[in-house]
Amino acid sequence: MGATRKWGFMEIFDNQGNINLGEVSRRDLLRGAGALAIMGGVVSTIGASPLNAMGRMPAIKKGGSLRVGVVGDIKDRLDAHWIVSIPDIVRLNVGFETLMTYDESFQPTYADGLAEEVTTTDGINWIIRVKKGIEFHDGKTLNGDDLVYSWQRLSDPKAVHSKSLRPFLNPAGVSKVDDRTVKLTLLQANSDFRVTLATYTSTVVPVGYENFGINRTQVGTGPYKLKSFTPGVESTHVRHANYWDKGKPHLDEVRILSFSDTTALTNALQGGQIDVAINVPLAMLPTLKKDKNLDVYSNSAGKITPICLVIDMDPFKDVRTRQAMKMLIDRKKLLKQVLSNNGRLSNDDYSPADPNYNANGYPMQEQDIRGALKLLSAVGFSKSNPVVFDLKAPDDDAALSGLAKAFVEQVNTASGGVVKATATTVAVGYWDTTYMARGVNAFMTYYNPKPYFPQFSGMVFSYPETHFPEPGSQAKANYYAALAEVGPNRRAAIIKRMQKEEHERGGYIIPYFVNASDSYTKKLQGVNKRNAALPLDYYGMHFKNLWLA
C-alpha cells in the first residue's frame, strides 16, 4: 500500500486550530474579511495561472479528461466526513467543499469556501452565512437546513469520525437562523473555530445525506459530480454544470485511478497513461525530475514522520532517557540518508508554517553524544545495562521504515553500546495490530501538514501516541485556555508554556520535515505551487483551477 495507507483519520478533525491575530484586533479582521475574500480570490487566480513566455496569460483551454493516479485498494470509500486513505481524500476533494479554506500560512480564508461570513462575539456562538446560489450535484440549492444537517452529522456523538470536535460541539448546539445562515453554539469558547471550518473534512452535505461506511454515492457542492466508482479501480467525476464559482471548472471530467503500488503509479505517469501522480516515492524523484514531459512539485509545508517514544513505558519513563535519544541523533545526517535532503530540519517540533512555530526560539538540537551519555548514566544505563527497545514501522512507507532503521543505527553507534535498539518492519497490518498497540513502546507515525493547534489536538486527544502529557501536567488545560483566549499577548504566553513542556518532556522525535512530492505532465496548467495541507494546493482547489494545454 505504498506511502499510502494513510490514516485519513489522523487528518480528520484535528479541528481546534489557531489564528494568530498578531496585533490586529479580531473586529478589524472580521471587518476586512469580505475584502480579504475578494483579494484571496484574485491572488489565487493569478497564482494558479502561469504566464507564458511572452509574459501573457495563456488562454485557458476548456474540456478534456484529467487522469489522476493514486495508490489505493478495495478499501477506498466515498464519504463526506469519514474517510481513511489518500484516495479517499482525493475523492472527497473532487466532490465536496468546506465553508472556509486555509491560506499559505494555514490561516482560515473565505477564498474558495462556501461561507460568505463567519462571525462571533464571544467565541461560543458562531454565525455562519453561506454565499448565494450554491447548488448541490442533484440540483438542490444549499440552504440553512443543509448546514444544520451537515454540522449535526459532523458532531454526532455516535459517529466514528470527528472525535476531536466533540469537546466543542454536539448536535443540540446546531440551529438554523435563516435560509443561508446557521448558528453553532459551542460547549466551550473557541476563538479559533474558523480553523475547524477550513479543515478539509468539514464538508457540506445536503439534508438526508446518509451513507456511512461503504457507499457509492457522492452528493456535494464541488465542481465535479460522481459518475461511477469502483473501489480499488477508479472513479469518474464529470463537470458540475451549475457550479457556483462561475467560469469553473475547466475540465469536462476528472478520473481518479487506483494503483496497487507506487511502482505501477510512476510507470503509468512516465508512460503517459495518467496526467498526475499523487504522492510519488522519494526514490523516484531524480528520475521524474529528469523526464522532460513531467513536472515535480514538492510541498514543504511540514509533513512529519515522528518516532513515538511512549513516555509512561520503560525505558522512556525517565525524561532523561527521552532527552538523551534526542541528543544522540545527527539530524542533518538522517535528512540526507533517509530523504536525500528532500526536507528540512526539525527540532522535534511541528507546524513550521504556523505563526506560532517555535514560539520560544529554541536553537536546533545538535548531536551531543557526551551530554546524552551523561544523562543515560545518571538514569542508571550503561553498556552492561543498556537501553533496549524495538522500534516498529509499517512496510507501506519507505520514509517511515527507512527513518526507523537509520535512527536505530545512529543511536546504537553514537552511544557506543549504551543503547541497544532494534528496528522491526511489520509486513502486514501495522496500523491495525502494532501502531499504538498495548505493550509497544516505540513506533512510527506520520502527519500531513497542519496548523499548531490541530496538530497538538491530534497528538494529545485523537491519537495519544506517546501518552503525553504526564499526570499533573497543565498541557490540556493550557490548550483549552489558549483556544478561549482572545488577547493575543496572553495567548502567546500560553502557547510558549505549551511548547516548553513539549520540548522538555515530550516523547516525539521529529528529526525533519518531509517534502511531500507529486508529479504531473507539463500539459497540466493551473497548478498553484504553494505550500498547502493537501497536495497540489488541495488538488487544484477541488480540480477546478486545473486545465490541460
Binding site: V160, G232, A264, G271, Q273
Partner: protein
C-alpha cells in the same frame, strides 16, 4: 469404459483434496493477526461499533460453525459477501475472474503452441545453431523472475527507451479486457515469456528421448517419410510429459499472475487476492484460494487424462 472410471476416481480424489485445502485455508485465515472488524473500521472506532460489526459479520460464531456455514454456502453456490465492499463475492469477483481468464487463455494460446514448436524444432536440430540459441535463451528466461522481466519490458517499451506501449492496463469497470488492447500486450508478453521456457525445454527433452527410441528408428528403417515419423509416431508420445508441464504452468497462470497483475495494475484475481489479504477480507481470500486450488486440481486432472489418452501404452494399461 475404463477411462470414465479413471476420471471418476480422479474427480473423487480431487474433491477430497479440495476439502482438505478448504480446511487449511480456513485455519490459516483464522490465524491472521488482527480481526477483520478492526481492519475495516480502522483505529478510530468505538468498542460498540466493533462489537456490532463483529456480530454482523458473524465472527462470534464458533469456528466449526463458521467453517460449516461457509462450506454449505459454497455447495449451494453462495460464496458469501465481501466484508469490505459488502458486495456479493460472485458479483465482485466475476469481472476479475473474466479479466484473469483472458490473460490466462491468451497467454496459454500463445505460449503453448509456441513452446511446443520451439521444443520440437530444437530437438530436431539438436546441437545445431537454433537449438543452442533457443536452449540458452530459454535457460536465461527461466532464471529471470516475472517481476524483473515485466519491469524490463516496461522500461524498454513504455517509460525509458521507447514510449510505444502502455506501462499499465486500464480497464474500465464493467468493460472487457480487450477494450484496452494495447494495455494487455505487455502483461501477456510477460506471461508468455514466463511460461514458454519451461514448456519448450520439457518438450525438447521429451522429443530428444523419443527420437532416439527404438520405435522411431524402426519407423525410419521401415522407410516411412520423416514427416510421418514425426507427426504420427514421435509427437504424440513426446507430448505426454509435456501435458503435465503445460497443466502446471496453466495452473500457475491462474494463481501466479499476482505479481504480473500487480506490476501492470491489472484488475484480475491476483490483485484482488493481494488487496483482500491486506484488508483482511476473509470471505474473498477464502473464495479465491479455493478457486485457485480448484484450478490446480482440475488442470492436473485434465493433464493426467490427456497424458493417458495421448500415450498408447498408458491407454492400453487402463483396466
Amino acid at each position: 469404459m475404463p477411462i470414465i472410471k479413471f476420471i471418476t476416481r480422479r474427480l473423487g480424489l480431487g474433491v477430497v483434496t479440495l476439502f482438505a485445502v478448504s480446511l487449511l485455508i480456513f485455519l490459516v485465515t483464522q490465524a491472521f493477526p488482527s480481526d477483520p472488524a478492526q481492519a475495516i473500521l480502522g483505529r478510530e472506532t468505538t468498542p460498540e461499533s466493533l462489537d456490532a460489526l463483529r456480530q454482523e459479520l458473524g465472527l462470534y460464531r464458533p469456528a466449526v460453525t463458521q467453517f460449516s456455514d461457509w462450506l454449505i454456502g459454497i455447495l449451494h453456490g453462495d460464496f458469501g459477501k465481501s466484508f469490505v465492499t459488502q458486495m456479493q463475492i460472485s458479483e465482485y469477483i466475476a469481472p476479475r475472474v473474466g479479466n484473469s481468464l483472458f490473460l490466462m487463455v491468451v497467454g496459454a494460446l500463445l505460449s503453448v503452441p509456441l513452446s511446443v514448436a520451439i521444443g520440437a524444432f530444437s530437438a530436431l536440430r539438436r546441437d545445431r545453431r537454433f537449438d543452442t540459441i533457443s536452449s540458452t535463451t530459454s535457460l536465461i528466461l527461466a532464471a529471470i523472475p516475472e517481476f524483473v522481466m515485466g519491469t524490463a519490458l516496461i522500461l524498454f517499451f513504455s517509460t525509458s527507451i521507447f514510449h510505444v506501449l502502455p506501462a499499465i492496463t486500464l480497464i474500465d469497470a464493467g468493460a472487457a479486457p480487450w477494450s484496452d488492447p494495447s494495455g494487455v500486450v505487455l502483461p501477456i508478453f510477460t506471461l508468455v515469456l514466463a511460461v514458454t521456457p519451461y514448456v519448450s525445454r520439457t518438450m525438447r527433452a521429451s522429443m530428444v528421448e523419443i527420437l532416439e527410441s527404438d520405435y522411431v528408428e524402426m519407423a525410419r528403417l521401415k522407410g516411412m517419410s520423416e514427416r510421418v515419423v514425426l507427426i504420427r509416431h514421435a509427437l504424440p508420445n513426446a507430448l505426454g510429459p509435456v501435458f503435465q508441464v503445460i497443466a502446471l504452468n496453466l495452473a500457475y497462470l491462474a494463481g501466479g499472475t499476482v505479481i504480473v497483475e500487480r506490476l501492470f495494475n491489472y484488475p484480475g484475481i491476483g490483485s484482488a487476492l493481494a488487496d483482500s489479504v491486506r484488508a483482511r477480507d476473509l470471505p474473498v481470500i477464502q473464495f479465491l484460494a479455493l478457486m485457485i486450488a480448484g484450478v490446480y486440481v482440475l488442470m492436473n486432472l485434465v493433464a493426467d487424462v490427456a497424458t493417458v489418452l495421448a500415450t498408447p501404452r498408458l491407454r492400453t494399461s487402463l483396466k
